[in-house]
Amino acid sequence: MSLISDPRWGEALSHLPDYLGNHVRVSLAALALGLIVSLPLAILCRNRPVARNILLALASIVQTVPGLALLALFYPLLLLAASVTLAWFGVAFSAFGFLPAMLALALYSMLPVLRNGITGLNGIDPALLEAAQGVGMTPRQSLLTVELPLALPVMMAGIRTAAVWVIGTATLSTPIGQTSLGNYIFAGLQTQNWVFVLFGCFASAVLALAVDQLLGLIEAGLRNRSRLRTTLGGVGIAALVAATLVPSLGRSSPAYIVGAKTFAEQYVLSALIRDRLAAADLPATTRSGLGSNVAFEALKAGDIDLYVDYSGTLWANQLHRTDIKPRKELIDELKTALAKQNITLLGELGFENAYALVMPRKRAEALGIRSVADLAAHTSGLSIAGDYEFFSRPEWAALRDAYGLAFRAQRQMQPDFMYAAVASGEVDVIAGYTSDGLIAKYDLVALDDPKRAIPPYDAILLLAPKRAGDERLKAALKPLLDRLDIADMREANLRASGNDANSSPDVVAKWLWEKISKR
């Protein structure tokens, strides 16, 4: 299929008003906040070398933090702040989405604005400062009529740099729940949808250039004292903001927000759930690409209404348990623990997405291996590969100790490449994920774990505290419970990882529903 006629361009375009609007709002709000803080600071410390150096050093340190990490850090920071305000003043605020993204981006915008502001103001000829004083200007008049206009070109260059940085970095605010053009990029990378990735990159680049040019117009207008150009630039930016507000004003916000973490299975499941709710006349939308911990906290705070998590993940990360229990018992205990936080564990979808040792079916049959216990006798001659964290996780230690595994060699690999590597014989065994579609694609087999060394990772539906008594919602979700088997999920995941028009999560979700609904 040719790249130009690919129908995914149309799908990408349909998300544009929402993604672009949110992107513009969060970046321009962050830039405005950054300017409101940085410009007065630059002015205040222009004659104070010590303060100036401290400030620039702090701003430089902020800049060395990678954008993704800075955004991710603001989420727990605001959660903490929200819990403090709740305890002291009885009011909490949402630590999800707009607020942490805007604050982190504002901080990110400060260095170029501060540095250029200070450089511009300090670069003015002292003779002109004396002349300003000599003709009878107050310090304030000198600042407004002489210093700021003369520093303007350098300051505006800093503001323009900050604008481009903020608009680019805002694409990384998707995992903390802020919709942005990054939604294209995160979704595209996870589902191998290069059309989305390209579209997201292109849209944010065009936006950055457009804002940069409008700021350039304002700058030229101010410098040449051309009111026309200044006004045009200002109107341009105002129009951009207004244009992004119109669609969100015209559309009432949907009642239900379905969260999704950052991998293909989650994109498909959230689309499936959204469609089910829509079919039951419950308007819903997805908020995808959320960090694993962000999704849970957002549910707890009611920023999202429901999402799919995995029993073993919550067992370890939220309950901080290291012991392993049988599937049913673990879910019951989890349910009780979550209920204390007013979170409803509605039920299981029917499949598990756990770690499992995986090898080619033919090889396993030839060696007579059906379970990890059978494998143990052969490990001294075999090599194993896992993702970057597997060998330091408790699951590996448990597995190794329970079966006495001693592989000849162990390697770490990018998850997407592991399956091809084991299929081609480059490694003998991999630690894969049970619901991964590539298991079927490469004709691999996930070995049984008869001693139950690995905890169960049942896919479970969680509802936010505010939806605990929502019977319409529960009824709409009922058809999804205990209906998804591992083979269907594997095939859905395989479809979603393809790079064609039928691989979008929406299309795959429809296919999956057709399979389930026939049962």
Binding site: A127, L128, E130, A131, V135, G136, M137, T145, V146, L150
Partner: protein
């Protein structure tokens, strides 16, 4: 002294850290007088000028302007009623000629229309062209034109006192002479009291009514050029020797009735 002084310096001293810039100077400037302060670099002449409109503050002694101690005046108000011509102009590069000239009236809150009329009047006064020069930026003017704008700006708020910091130092000889003569005419026409600092004794003799000589922060001598000639200070006599030698040489090389 013909009348009571418009500017009075009484035992004025100023240090910059360990450096003594002005060391106990007492000097009166009479109404309508054109005083030149002559000295080399580091003599303290520029410091004395800046102390006068409180661009810097005195350490000891007092300065009075129009009878009042300036340490009790509002410095901004003081500067607005004293014209100040800066070395090489000090024009604001982002403002047009008209905006530069009109800056102090604007700060005083004078209406736009009045300022515009005043700017035209001043352009005439300093012999610039209303139509040609009004809206130009300083960078598009010659050095002499820039300094004319500097003079116009200093006069814009109708001050009675003008302070000039080496105003003609960076100009070529012809421009310098023309500008000096023009300013001297203005000084008389407008009844100004002018204090000009210069390192050039010839310029001081040609323009000023009275000359004060400074060296190492101290006032060595003051008086009319003729009075200075009777000084017994070696440095003052040394300063006067150069113009004298130049005059003799000029007379010798350019006999009366020559091409000049």
């Amino acid at each position: 002294m013909p009348s009571k002084p418009v500017i009075g310096y009484a035992r004025v001293a100023k240090n910059f850290g360990p450096v003594v810039a002005v060391d106990g100077v007492s000097l009166d400037v009479a109404e309508g007088e054109f005083l030149a302060i002559v000295g080399g670099s580091g003599s303290g002449k520029t410091t004395l000028l800046r102390l006068t409109n409180r661009l810097i503050e005195v350490d000891r002694g007092t300065i009075t302007v129009e009878g009042a101690d300036i340490s009790r005046a509002d410095p901004v108000e003081l500067r607005r009623r004293i014209g100040y011509v800066f070395q090489s102009g000090g024009l604001f590069p982002h403002l047009s000629v008209a905006d530069n000239i009109g800056i102090t009236p604007k700060l005083l809150g004078i209406p736009q229309g009045e300022i515009a009329a005043r700017v035209d009047e001043l352009l005439d006064l300093v012999r610039l062209d209303r139509t040609q020069h009004r809206d130009r930026l300083p960078q598009d003017l010659s050095g002499g034109q820039r300094q004319r704008v500097g003079v116009a700006r200093a006069l814009a708020a109708r001050p009675r006192i003008v302070l000039m910091d080496e105003p003609f130092g960076a100009l070529d000889p012809l421009t310098r002479d023309a500008l000096g003569e023009d300013y001297r005419a203005l000084h008389h026409k407008l009844g100004l009291t002018t204090v000009m600092i210069t390192h050039d004794m010839t310029e001081a003799i040609l323009l000023a009514d009275r000359i004060a000589v400074m060296r190492a922060g101290q006032l060595l001598a003051q008086g009319t050029p003729a009075e200075l000639g009777r000084s017994d200070d070696a440095y003052v006599l040394e300063l006067l020797r150069t113009p004298r030698r130049q005059v003799a040489r000029l007379n010798e090389r350019l006999p009366q009735g020559g091409a000049a």
